[in-house]
């Protein structure tokens, strides 16, 4: 429990650093994130006493909270679900507040938000701190669940997260807000199901990153593919092409 809280706080800190690199030193957002991740690799190694892998067996975790109760068997499902649902509700309520509005609008159009009297640098700071805190919380949950922490646990996670968001939004829609939040969660579950299915069908676990990359490429190129399809349909339904002329 304390571990989760500490992870949350550490994530806040990391996110704030990213935000400051971006807003005060004018480094591009994506690059700021990459820089912080790079630096964190060393910091994480230090936190882990220089070891790449630390077993957490027999340590108290959130999952051991239920030990000795009738719910012990289902702790692995129950506890993350409770945490997920409470985060969903909190996030929904937060995004419906005055500050939540400003946070969402800054993502859309920061110029407008500044024109309405808001310090967007501060909004970006709080937004990145919060989002990174959630990421750190997830990481610490995973470590507690699998009973070890590994230095390479987070590699490729940005892409997986992106894939989950896109899959969820494409399949389940984005309006209204609550639907969008649920869509992102379902997207993440769906992504894992697809991966599980691929493994079931005999795919080598080492090929997983390639699959992830393909899924994200597909998802990101959705709009372009749609545009091509529409253009293709137009071409083939025009009278000229039917007569065999070159339209």
């Amino acid at each position: 429990m304390v571990g989760l809280a500490l992870a949350f706080a550490a994530g806040c800190l990391a996110g704030s650093v990213t935000a400051l690199l971006h807003t005060k030193l004018n480094i591009q957002p994506l690059l700021s994130g990459i820089l912080v991740m790079l630096g964190l690799y060393s910091i994480n190694l230090r936190v882990m006493d220089g070891r790449a892998n630390i077993p957490l067996l027999n340590k108290a975790t959130v999952f051991s909270l239920l030990q000795g109760t009738p719910l012990e068997e289902s702790a692995a499902l129950l506890i993350p679900t409770i945490i997920l649902l409470s985060m969903l509700v909190l996030l929904f309520l937060f995004l419906k507040t005055q500050f939540g509005f400003v946070l969402r609008a800054t993502g859309d159009n920061d110029q407008m938000v500044r024109a309405l009297g808001v310090n967007t640098d501060r909004v970006i700071l709080i937004g990145l701190a919060l989002s990174n805190a959630l990421v750190a919380l997830s990481g610490s949950l995973i470590a507690q669940y699998q009973s070890f922490a590994d230095i390479s646990m987070g590699i490729g996670m940005v892409i997986i997260g992106l894939a989950s968001v896109i899959i969820g939004e494409v399949i389940f829609g984005t309006t209204p807000l609550l639907r969008r939040l649920v869509a992102v969660i379902l997207g993440a579950v769906l992504y894992r199901l697809v991966i599980a299915l691929a493994l079931e069908l005999g795919m080598a676990p080492t090929d997983l990153k390639l699959i992830s990359a393909l899924i994200v490429t597909l998802a990101l190129s959705m709009p372009s593919i749609k545009a091509y399809l529409i253009a293709w349909k137009k071409k083939h339904s025009s009278p000229y092409s039917r007569k065999g002329g070159q339209a």
Binding site: F94, F101, R104, N109, M112, R114, A115, L116, V118, P176
Partner: protein, 264 residues
Amino acid sequence: MLIIESLSKTFNPGSINEKLALDNITLSLQPGEFLSIIGGNGAGKSTLLNCISGVYPMDQGRIILDSMDISYRPEYQRSRYIGRVFQDPMLGTAFDMTIEENLAIAYARGKSRGLKPGIRKAEAKLFQEHLARLELGLEDRMKQKVGLLSGGQRQALTLLMATIVEPRLLLLDEHTAALDPAIAQRVLQLTREIVSRYHLTTIMVTHNMKAALEYGNRTIMMHEGRIILNLQGAEREEMTVEKLVQLFGLKSGAELDNDRLLLI
């Protein structure tokens, strides 16, 4: 009341692209004065508005709004007192949020934004009344995303957002230039209604000479970063677009780029 003293701005100083965009501009607006600005492409009109609103730092000069020296305040602080509508209809709103959410953000201008609910019931009702006055049917679409609106509807909404908390100064930068003539006319009408309802001190840059003379109570013409003509009172009353074009040639020694300025 707005006072601008000896405002200068050079872009890319010391490079080959050095450009003196504002050359020692001095200008003041009485409370409730509605100034229109015309001038050719690159005359410095947008730069003037951007220096007033704090988008660009200025090189020299002072800007005083209602006896506050705002010369060195950051953009977001000035925005508590200054309402703005941009030329590009995409810039004034958050496209992925609903009409009422956009209005709620505008309605909290100048207040701190905490964890209070984004929209209260009473506010939603107020927004609906304001929207109804635009006569664009937006009052029935409050929960729709702004991304679904046309350019003209967005500009009308942005105008409402810029004024729903009464600003001390309203800056309009060719806010109808990107619109079809009919809806541009409607947005101009709305501008006049709103400005006169609250007696807003207003600066409107326009590419339309006729509108510049028709709207507001004073007109200036800019050329190469300077004010070359100041029209008000009887002289402005009697001014026609033809005479204005002639005056431009006389004062600037240049041909007017007709393709951009609308003469009719």
